[in-house]
Symmetry: C2
Amino acid sequence: MTPRVLLPWPDIAVPDGVEAAVYDGTGTPPDVSAVEFYVLPYDSGPEPPQLIAEMPSLKAVQSLSAGVESLLPLIPEGVTLANGRGLHDLSVAEHALALVLAAQRDLPRWFRQQQTGSWDREHTRSLADERVLLVGYGSIGKAVERYLVAGEADVVRVASTAREGVHGIGELPDLLPDASIVILVLPGTPATRGVIGARELAALPDGALVVNVGRGTAIDTAALTAEVAAGRLRAALDVADPEPLPPEHPLWRLPGAIITPHVAGGSDSFYPRAKKLAEQQLARFARGEPLVNVVR
Amino acid sequence: MTPRVLLPWPDIAVPDGVEAAVYDGTGTPPDVSAVEFYVLPYDSGPEPPQLIAEMPSLKAVQSLSAGVESLLPLIPEGVTLANGRGLHDLSVAEHALALVLAAQRDLPRWFRQQQTGSWDREHTRSLADERVLLVGYGSIGKAVERYLVAGEADVVRVASTAREGVHGIGELPDLLPDASIVILVLPGTPATRGVIGARELAALPDGALVVNVGRGTAIDTAALTAEVAAGRLRAALDVADPEPLPPEHPLWRLPGAIITPHVAGGSDSFYPRAKKLAEQQLARFARGEPLVNVVR
């Protein structure tokens, strides 16, 4: 029997009678000619999605990412695509908080001092009582908000579409001058490209912190680099545009910048949650029920 | 008129008719012979408390710290001492979270990579779903807990005295083997000295993280250093024993250790809250009402 299901890890339970193979995105893939349900390896580069073209029996693709924009063009007509919405919420939210707190509480300075064993002390900024613009209010944005509320920050919600309690992105020019922290949790769509450009950055007060855990394209990198180089704004970024950020890019070495290499979504808490989703989706597929998290 | 009130900052409002002087802990202090109410400068070393001995008219001392153990021997009979309980809760809690997230999400690694512009990626630990022992459940502990709950950690409360929903410190031996993170928020009293010693550390599972934002004396530094040097445990400390930790202490340079120089309590959000407490206490004093936060 040839495998009908292709999984990224061996310990995902499959329904009785279903043959499964494992492909984690490294090495030579197995025979995929009979694969009907493909759970893509998470965060494994461009090769695994290209395997879709070699699956004539394919009925459904389960991505474990929330953002599937780069995947859409590879999904044949009639094949269902489901995403990993919700799996990364907490992982991304805690990395967002790690970036905010690292910047506000001067962690780069203390880590430098640690190298020389220096107990030099200075008071720092804080998160409590700060006005935070939370831009992007889906499930990840809500998880970030729960952290901010616990820390008694003053949260102002912004999303692509205005709704009750949430400002529309068009209101940013009015909101930016009163914010000391902006956290971007936006998906990478044509509508979110460049929403934080030179004009928006100029509207922020001196010393404000720009955090991005969504997609790098939401920010005009050159404009942000100029503001941070001038010492006027600070940045804490897990995503960049372009990505990877080239080693010679000036942003890497600016004292007001913290950069992590797109690692917000990939942490231990993700795997048990991803395994559970994959098993539930496979059970639905085997019973002929509709999948959840369907994108198309 | 000689000053009846001595304040650490000039912008603290005093009741009508009361003469105030300012001493921030640096330079030569003013004439203090008539001072009845002394608001100590925050976090300014050993000199300001010694001024108490030169205040024959003193009736009340307001500390802006939560822990006043080193101050108590300096307070004359009949003088009221009030502490800064609550002022630092959020500041300490957010620094505790900063330490936890920095360790779990590998911030020291990303900061090192930033120096060479490296986009090398790897998945990290997380906070969500981790079993966290929160040792110390006063107002700071509760502020830390609100953060942990927002991050969906599995919080187990421990305090000096067992009570409904809170384990007693004597139960630590049973609780430690199931915890992957221990956060200490204990005051520096004789009872909390060395509560985390070699035996307690040995009871923790491999890879566990020990965080301390309370007092350094709660942990046996030599025992912790041995466990971190062996690569068995990790540490993220804002306090140490001794303090300052000497520059040549091996803990500074261990890869599994993060050390910040006792900066958890001092951040921007503290000042407005401290100013408000000082003003309210001065008003009570002027009206002859009892102070709040009285320690003795």
